[in-house]
Amino acid sequence: MKNSDSNSSLDSRINQTLKNVQGLLKGRSIPGKVLLTRRADPPEDPSLRSPTFGRSFSEIDAGTSDLMDMSKEEEAQDTSKQQNNNTSANKLKPMSSNVEITSKEVQKSVMGARATDSARVMKFTKELSGSTVILEKLRELAWSGVPPYMRPNTWRLLLGYAPPNSDRREGILRRKRLEYFDCVAQFYDIPDTERSDDEINMLRQISVDCPRTVPDVTFFQQEQVQKSLERILYTWAIRHPASGYVQGINDLATPFLVVFLSEHLEGDILKWSISDLSPDKISNVEADCYWCLSKLLDGMQDHYTFAQPGIQRLVFKLKELVNRIDEPVSRHMEEQGLEFLQFAFRWFNCLLIREIPFHLVTRLWDTYLAEGDALPDFLVYIFASFLLTWSEELQKLDFQELVMFLQHLPTENWTHQELEMVLSRAFMWHRTDSKVPSLLTFKYMVLQISHNDLSILSTENLQKKSTTSLFT
């Protein structure tokens, strides 16, 4: 539980976050926008896309689990040089193949990550290899991103699927997997004549949705992958009759599939073929996905029951939070008659999977899973931070433009930087909210960040200055 965090672990986490933000602000010009800055947006010119665009899921993932160190690296370069790099990388594109560029990029970032990230990797290794994993420490580390090859183990532990005690781990996982196979045999592998009408309808709905799950990533178009997904979703639905299958839960299973398959399939997800795996391995991956999905959804059961009260409650909280942080945007949206439910419903229902490029999803989920039981409440902060990425744009749009914009947010070129920014801001707002009861401090913080005055972001300064700002 997050609440039981000691002050020191919170402080170390905020330090990590601050380092992330500092790296972001110093090292580069931010393609997105810092909240409430008055700086004009960089033009949406496709030729200015960062060279990382187009990198495959696994490649980009391989080198960017720790943004902080990458940023440090780039701090050394001056900005103009960086821009030159960008341009030359883009100029290269039409001439050389995309693959060449991406492999160079990957080499560089992997090397960078390995060279400078070793301290973090060592911490992870230490935590994971102990005879009893101390989950609090693992959470703290995982919050800022998990090295890709450690993700499967880390996620299983964070979700409470694998036990912290390493002696018991293998045995418990084996038993759980068998339990899943039994469920599949009992519920899924039966003729339709043994199903109720509702169950037939549910299975039909699932089979309609499986082929259109992450359809933009070809890996998910493989029939065997879709069948696995179908078994996971149907089994989960049968065993959770209060909600049953709800569209969007299919999306939530995909990060687990990708992460647990990454233990067995190497390289680029675009080239993964599930038929390279033995049926045993596929079954185990499937079982792990099932249990992890179950664990995740246990924490938000009323998100998917009738009328989805859990989501409605969080949407309301989001509206309230946004109003406290950024009153002008909030007022504008209100004046335009825009309701938060009209766009944020999907955010909560699919946990933002639909809103960001798929290759960033696993990084986002590191933070989700590190939050554990506190996740639903923390989602509100993440989503507020996400929404206010476009604070300025939103204020220029009328009702219809707002709805359209929010349904198709311009995140297709996002890299880890923008995501880290969203998470860091969410973290700081949440921290302020729980530490300083007066919420006026929000605006103060927001303004400070926008002025790039990061010196105030030490916790003591923050408290001192924010109290004075209350009276100005």
């Binding site: 949705d209 359809p215 909600s243 569209q247 009328a307 639909r354 009702f399 359209m404």
Partner: protein, 216 residues
Amino acid sequence: MGHRVDHEYDYLFKIVLIGDSGVGKSNILSMFTRNEFCLESKSTIGVEFATRTLQVDGKTVKAQIWDTAGQERYRAITSAYYRGAVGALLVYDITKRQTFDNVQRWLRELRDHADSNIVIMMAGNKSDLKHLRAVQEEDGHALAEKEGLSFLETSALEGTNIEKAFQTILTEIYHIISKKALAAQEAAATSTVPGQGTTINVADASGNTSKGCCST
């Protein structure tokens, strides 16, 4: 809804797209508003939204279309969007009998949550998949006639009848609205005739006059 009435259009009509999951509602919408068909479309979560402005009987009409999720679980969320809708496109899939059988349930949804005068067009979508047809066109016609709906078979993939389906709904709405406006004008005209017992108008007028006196 809080949309402003600007001067780019004469009328703004809110339309809802309903029907079972996977019948092609979102593609009908993207075809109509953006001329795009996406084979790899994702399921709609909650509601989505798009608009298109077009000419109806020489008037500029903006269609504000709300595309709803087909799954039953979302009814509680989506039915809120029926409020204020003047038209509905109820879609089924001609290759899936079940989606046609469910049309009655969707009509009930509309009766329960939408305005009683809502204009409904039924569309049998995916007409390009002739070899997979499970619902005959005559069945569609028969049901439409029985329920008093307009009816067309459509193909979002080929763009067949998509334009026509919306054009028909919007024209019908426009005719109803202009008839109502005409009736209201006539009513207003007759009410000024003395002896009709227009006491309310008189009272209003006198009230205004007295205020006017005080302020000047």
